[in-house]
């Protein structure tokens, strides 16, 4: 168990052990939280092995143990047939284990080459390393289809290309086993497809790939084997070909889950939210919305699709009155409510607009507050919570209690600090607060980001319920599946412009994918006539 790994011990593929990695009875606790409980995992060499599970199921902890970030309390790690101890990421690398993190670890103002050799320089002089890296990168590029301009700065590359650099970094360091943590979260569908092609090539060349994801579609598309984790335990390992998404979802959650959203035909009414030629700049003064025009009717959900960072955040903030618009108009119920001041959120709320923000932790909640305090955030000024200067704590608590019951927020304790709730329950706190105000217009950003499958189902149903109650809903999400299953109409945002509109019933993923990548559709975006 105590062998210190070095290059001499590197498991060579010629050694012929069929298992690349074997984890035996891994246990890991953080205080009273048993994050990993008797985990067994066997990953066959030359396969793509998926690991799925809800947030907090223990996937990341397990991979962190494998990559040397954490130490298992007990259990054994076998790499290439040899029991090993992994103290840190250098040990992991020496064993041929490489990791591609969800958030890239790249130096933005370095070139691709410089990033690749960073920390793997051979000597004090850079020149020999650079030359060697250049040759090596060329070989890797041709072998695996990992083309990137090696002399370009990272900041000039697309997200997909940056991810390729991360993979190249791992391969350059001699990784035989690649761990990818939620790799497609930031990619367009086309980029994701490209990534999968690369992964397949790597697998065919004998590399082993461990893919952590919560997207069952990806598991079905690319993996050979899939392991399901739930509440710190390994529930089952299956051959992907012999399972289906429904079964996997059930294993993840522990009960039957409806993956498809059940909804009736929309009955659109009057236009409640009407945006014309909206131009909005970010804090640096860069225009992030360049003349956006869209409208949402009562009783319909307008989905705004797009890769993250194409102006969605600015759109939500401008609509919510948190960001001043440079030009253009926003009409709510026919009234011009265009914010010229970033402090207009309260005004808009009173006019019937509710906002579920993209990032609940940064914006939608004060994590240090008790649950009941967050249940009135944005509404504390209302007479309901005390007339005059005083805050009626009792009334606020009662409000929180109502939300807890109606939205099944757990634990059902309004006096708990919000930070102690799970992601799904925190999201429910925000949703309950915004939906229970009975707004005319609801704008929702990333409603299910970092939320468990069980809670996703609930949240989706609540949004549909709002629609059926005749509310106008604008939904922004980077999850294309979510946009497609919830929306009645879809617009695609690219580089601050609406580049196309689609009907979710007929649009196929390829068409939307092209739009998200900035390839304009032939049909110019048509604008619904306002009644």
């Amino acid at each position: 168990m105590d062998t210190t790994p070095d290059h001499a011990q590197r498991p060579s593929s010629a050694a012929g052990a069929s298992l690349a990695i074997e984890l035996k009875k891994i246990n890991k606790s953080f205080g009273s939280v048993h994050a990993n409980r008797d985990i067994d995992l066997a990953v066959r060499r030359g396969t793509v092995h998926g690991i799925v599970g809800e947030n907090g199921a223990g996937k990341s902890t397990l991979m962190s143990i494998l990559y040397g970030f954490y130490h298992a309390d007990s259990g054994e790690i076998v790499v290439g047939g040899k029991p090993v101890t992994i103290h840190n990421s250098s040990d992991a690398l020496a064993l041929g284990i490489g990791m591609v993190h969800q958030h890239f670890m790249l130096v933005d103002n370095f070139t691709v080459l410089e990033n690749v050799i960073l920390g793997a320089e051979d000597s004090a002089l850079l020149k020999p390393s650079v030359d060697k890296a250049r040759r090596e990168l060329q070989r890797l590029a041709s072998d695996y289809g990992l083309n990137v301009p090696v002399d370009a700065l990272i900041e000039d590359l697309s997200v997909g290309q940056q991810q390729r650099v991360e993979i190249l970094k791992a391969l350059y360091r001699g990784a035989d086993i690649l761990i990818l943590d939620e790799p497609t979260g930031v990619l367009t569908p086309a980029e994701a497809d490209h990534l999968f092609e690369v992964l397949k090539t790597l697998r065919d060349e004998g590399k082993t790939i461990i893919l952590i994801t919560h997207k069952l579609r990806e598991i079905m598309a690319i993996t050979d084997m899939v392991s399901v984790m739930r509440q710190g335990q390994m529930v089952e390992t299956l051959e992907t070909a012999k399972t289906n998404p429904e079964q996997l979802a059930e294993l993840m959650v522990g009960r039957r889950v409806l993956l498809r959203v059940e909804k009736d035909e929309a009955k659109p009414g009057d236009v409640l939210l009407d945006v014309t030629d909206l131009v909005v700049a970010d804090d640096m003064g860069t225009e992030r919305l360049k003349g956006v025009t869209l409208s949402v009717r009562a009783g319909e959900i307008l989905g705004v699709a797009g890769v993250a960072g194409n102006g969605q955040s600015e759109l939500l903030e401008a609509l919510a009155g948190m960001r001043a618009s440079k030009s253009g108009t926003i009409r709510l119920n026919g009234e011009d409510v265009t914010a010229h001041h970033p402090d207009s959120a309260a005004t808009l709320r009173r006019k019937g607009l509710a906002h579920v923000p993209e990032d609940r932790l940064r914006m939608g909640l004060v994590t240090n507050f008790y649950e009941w305090e967050n249940s009135i955030l944005g509404y504390h000024d209302y007479d309901k919570y005390g007339s005059g200067l005083m805050l009626d704590v009792k009334a606020a608590r009662a409000e929180a209690q109502r939300h807890i019951e109606k939205f099944d927020i757990r634990p059902a304790n309004a006096d708990l600090k919000t930070a102690n709730f799970s992601g799904g329950n925190q999201q429910k706190i925000v949703l309950a607060r915004e939906m229970e105000r009975d707004p005319d217009v609801l704008i929702v950003g990333q409603p299910t980001r970092g939320v468990d499958i069980g809670a996703i189902e609930f949240i989706h149903n609540q949004i549909i319920k709002m629609r059926d109650a005749g509310k106008a809903i604008l939904l922004v999400s980077v999850e294309l599946d979510e946009i497609r299953s919830l929306s009645d109409r879809i617009v695609v945002l690219f580089d601050g412009e609406v580049v196309g509109e689609a009907d979710p019933a007929t649009a196929d993923e390829g068409e939307l994918g092209l739009l998200m990548a900035g390839v304009k559709s032939d049909t110019t975006p048509k604008r619904e006539a306002t009644t």
Binding site: K28, S29, F30, G31, S32, V33, A35, S64, G68, F69, Y70, H71, D73, H87, N88, A320, G321, M322, P342, D343, S344, A345, A346, T347, L348, R349, H355, P357, R362, M363, G364, L365, V366, T367, N368, F369, E373, I376, L377, G378, H380, D381, Y385, G386, L389, M390, L391, V393, K417, A419, N420
Partner: protein, 373 residues
């Protein structure tokens, strides 16, 4: 997942501060040993000096009053996420507001004059804090920097005003004319003979009221709710539609007004006149008081009392034990500040581990130490 392990509230509020103070006293005790005195005896003298008889107790309460105001000033700003270290200057300028009104209404009964003096002191001190608030809200200049600078400006400005304008011709020292005895904020000894010849005055009652008032303000008003929202998460405050700029300016003004109440205790009460450099570090002690008291009025009250004891008992100690000089008392005070403020989290980790071990031992073997990523 690591440090998020919550400790029981009583550990955070009571056990840790007590441990920190104890540690400060142990090290202070070692210093006392080194100079050849008995530390136990020193503590006894200190406590006797602070509580043992009316005269000492009166002074303890007088110091405590100042520290409560200065501590609350820092605490209110702290809840808004602002670090006001300008209490010293704000209290000084508050003194100007107090003396101008107190002299102007000379002869008026104190019960009528005191509210006017308070309003004036609050306005002057509040304005002095509002300036950095405005600069942060509108121009992005950090209050930590600007409040420090405002302290220096206050010192120079007040020196000029006191020595060149307020100082009467027939007075030698740098101070204003005396406030009429009828107008002056009365000493508590008028009602409690035990406290005779001590400077503790009605302001002590005002300080206790301020503790309650600040508690209500922070946790039971809509303004306090907004203040805390901004203090924890400015983006969430903007999301909620609160104006961060307004909140910053208001929070600073209130903070400054509280610091200005030091002038009620000193200028309008204990001193009966405005003396050059009268604040004498009270504003800075307020920072330690607020931090030690976790910015909660109960904590601020208790830590203000502790510093009151240290001030008064320390003087008694320096008087009784000649080997222990005034400087050594300051050293012990500094140790308390060091351990409760700057190093208050030093004991947190061991205590956390102790609790963790105790908890896990009930269920399963202790987990081996984890490496940080």
């Amino acid at each position: 997942m690591s440090s998020a392990m919550p400790l029981p509230r009583w550990v955070d509020v009571l056990l840790l501060p007590v441990l920190n103070v104890t540690l400060a006293f142990i090290i202070g005790g070692i210093v006392v040993l080194i100079v050849g005195e008995n530390p136990i005896e020193a503590v006894r003298i200190m406590l006797y000096g602070a509580f043992g008889y009316g005269y000492g107790f009166g002074f303890t309460l007088y110091y405590t009053t100042n520290f409560i105001f200065a501590g609350l000033a820092v605490a209110v700003a702290f809840h808004a996420g602002l670090f006001n270290i300008g209490g010293e200057g704000q209290a000084y300028v508050g003194g100007l507001g107090a003396i101008l009104v107190a002299l102007a209404v000379g002869g008026l009964h104190w019960a009528l004059a005191m509210p006017l003096i308070m309003i004036s002191a609050a306005l002057f001190a509040g304005f002095w804090a509002f300036i950095p608030g405005y600069l942060q809200a509108k121009r992005g200049s950090h209050v930590v920097i600007t409040t420090i600078m405002m302290n220096f400006i206050a010192t120079s400005m007040m020196s000029y005003i006191i020595s060149r304008i307020l100082k009467p011709a027939n007075v030698n020292s740098d101070e204003s004319a005396r406030i009429d005895e009828v107008t002056r904020v009365p000493f508590l000894s008028e009602w409690i003979p035990l406290l005779r010849n001590t400077p503790v005055n009605i302001s002590f009652v005002l300080a206790l009221l301020a503790l309650v008032g600040v508690y209500l303000l922070i946790w039971h008003t809509k303004f306090g709710y907004a203040l805390r929202t901004m203090g924890h998460n400015g983006t969430a405050a903007r999301y909620a539609g609160m104006s961060n700029a307004k909140l910053i300016m208001l929070a600073m003004a209130i903070s400054g007004a509280l610091a200005g109440m030091v002038a009620i205790n000193d200028t309008a009460g204990a001193h009966g006149r405005l003396i050059l450099g009268y604040v004498a570090g009270t504003g800075f002690v307020g920072i330690a008081v607020a931090f030690m008291g976790k910015a909660h009025p109960i904590g601020v009250g208790l830590s203000a009392l502790l510093f009151g004891v240290l001030y008064q008992g320390g003087q008694e100690l320096a008087f009784t034990m000649p080997a222990i000089t005034r400087e050594m008392i300051v050293t012990i005070q500094a140790l308390v500040i060091l351990f409760t403020g700057a190093m208050s989290n030093m004991l947190r980790r061991p205590v956390e581990l102790a609790f963790l071990t105790a908890r896990t031992r009930q269920k399963e073997p202790v987990p081996t130490e984890r490496k940080e990523a």
